[in-house]
């Protein structure tokens, strides 16, 4: 269930947007819960970090969407933002407020659907739950964003994290299932890396926290595919 905010002054446009969200839910087996704001003042007034996704109309009376987004970003850097606009120009500045994309009016479902998919890929990066690691010293709960990378040696996995290293008797497949898939990428048989800690990449290896990890030839294509998706999602 995704929490969605719709900031749109024109009620007909808001209605169209709602219809499209419902259609998208049906076609893609997801569900949304949406809240309307007829103008940006109402939206900003009681803003809480409770939304996964915001649809923001740019052309609104009073504070326009772009400025509203700038204000919102001061309070929330994580939420995924999609602009709705009549004109293409404004969207170019979209990256300065970390917008994922923009949708042109009049809204059409195909365009909406394609961009919403992109937005959803972005959302899945955030809001991570704690995972549990079973080590010989006991159980530890840790957030995936604290894990740098995971290495497999024989029957044991070593989790390298910002709280130290943990060794757990498990398989790489267990780790892959446990950790968010778009954040953790398998670059070769023995390593699962957290994409947000990668500092540089070239065609044969990557550098993560001063450690060099090689990218195997067989996994090269899928690794770059996933990494590109990750990068596309975070901006």
């Amino acid at each position: 269930m995704y929490q969605v905010a719709i900031v749109e002054d024109n009620p007909q446009d808001a209605e169209v947007l709602t219809q499209m969200l419902k259609e998208f839910e049906k076609q893609n087996q997801v569900s949304f819960h949406w809240t309307f704001y007829p103008n940006s003042d109402d939206f900003l007034l009681h803003y809480k970090k409770e939304f996964d996704l915001i649809f923001m109309d740019i052309e609104m009376p009073g504070l326009n969407g772009m400025d509203a987004a700038t204000e919102m970003r001061k309070k929330d850097t994580d939420v995924t933002l999609v602009f709705i606009t009549n004109m293409a120009q404004y969207a170019l500045r979209g990256y300065s407020v970390n917008a994922v994309d923009y949708i042109l009016k009049p809204l059409n479902f195909y365009s909406f659907s394609m961009k919403l998919k992109k937005a959803l890929r972005n959302i899945r990066h955030h809001g991570q739950e704690l995972i549990t690691l079973k080590t010989s010293d006991g159980l530890f709960r840790i957030s995936p964003s604290d894990i740098y990378y995971v290495e497999v040696k024989g029957h044991y996995l070593t989790y390298y994290t910002n709280r130290g290293d943990f060794i757990s008797r498990a398989t790489m497949t267990d780790a892959e299932n446990q950790l968010p898939q778009n954040l953790f990428l398998r670059c070769n048989k023995c390593y699962l890396v957290n994409a947000s800690y990668i500092t540089s990449v070239n065609s044969s290896c990557l550098i993560l926290n001063d450690t060099e990890i090689s990218i195997s030839r067989t996994r090269k294509d899928s690794f770059f595919q996933s990494y590109a998706q990750y990068l596309g999602g975070t901006v």
């Binding site: 293409a88 120009q89 969207a91 170019l92 990256y95 994309d101 365009s111 990449v201 901006v235």
Partner: protein, 454 residues
Amino acid sequence: MTAYFIRMLSSFQLYDNWIKFPLELLIAVVLFTYWLPRREHFAARISFLTLAMFGFSLVWNLNPIAGFWNVLQYLFIFMLSIVLIFFSYKCSFWHAIYAGISAYALQHIANGFHTLVAFYIPVLFSGSDSYLFLSNILNSTIYQICSYLCSYAIIYTIIYYSLAKKIKQDGFYGIDNKTFSFFISILLIFVIILNYFRVYYNDAFSRENIIINITISLYSIIGCLFALLIISGFNQQSRLNHSLEVTKQLIHMQKKQYQMSEETINLINIKCHDLKHQISAVRKNISDKDSRDALKEVEAATNIYDSVVKTKNETVNIILTEKSLLCEQNHIQLTCMIDEKNLSLISVTDLYSMLGNILDNAIEAVLKIPDYNQRVISLSISSAHNMLLIHCENYYQSNLTFQDGLPVSDKGNPKYHGYGMKSLKYLCEKYHGNLSILAEDDIFYLDILIPVVR
């Protein structure tokens, strides 16, 4: 002469002597040439030359030359087959030669294989007791016919699927090194001569001679196989060279296009600017409201380029301006999110070429969709974690075919399929980056990742 004919007709000698070799060679030729474009009066030409081959074989074997020089008939029939290819199909003479050599090599491998498997090897592995028993089988008609048809069918099929089909799919690009071509021909002539020793000099079924014959057969099979592989390998090489040349040419052409584009757009912008001022001046002097409104519309029209996206990167502006006008004309919705921060990494012409190719691909794909609503392209350029990411997604409808991991376009000259993509891949690699492509649920995703090196 009549008596000779009657004797021949009553045995397989008829087939063996004048039909077997030309027929086998002709079938091999077909396998290596059937897809080629045909010359006019193809049926007449090929029938005439086929009859010529059989006729030659007949005439020669009516009065066969004694001894060694009899093998020359194979050489002549082989040359006739090359003439047949060149005169029946639209191809270069070198292509006819290579096809002819390939066909001859194929026929020879099949021949060697057949004799080895059907005759020499079974006899070699039998003691003298079973020799008599075996020779009855070996001489029986059914066995002869079956083993003949089966061994040829096997070899022709294997070689067709492994080599001939590739040449059909890739096209014939010629073999650059004429020295190698010369050596292949020598090799084949040598093979013909070797076989004389197998066929003519021995009492084929004595034990020592069998071993010699098996050896000779094996050598000639290997020699012919080599020739085929060399031809195939060199063709591949030539294809790749051709590919690289075309890619480079494309990039060069796009450079010219970029310059023209830049000039054109600047020119138009200047003109529009002047026009705007003039219209403004005129408008001030008109009091009639309708006329003023009309003029306002005209003024709006001169904003033709102003209304389009403007970033801090001139190259991006030019290519986006060009493509967005094209999109508007074709009811394509193009949206762009551009952070031009690290774009200076890429040279102006390379960037123009890359973005041009990416957008051309996307435009070509959405143009095939009849529903205007589905003609949506989304381009974004961003930087994160020391990587420059160029991401483009668009709807597509037709079936995508892939070659060498890249999708192939189906417009234009078949020999120039998919060069936009090849040029993209080439440019990515130039900047030590990576190109990924994914097609899923009617949406095509293209990602280019380039490391930011300072």
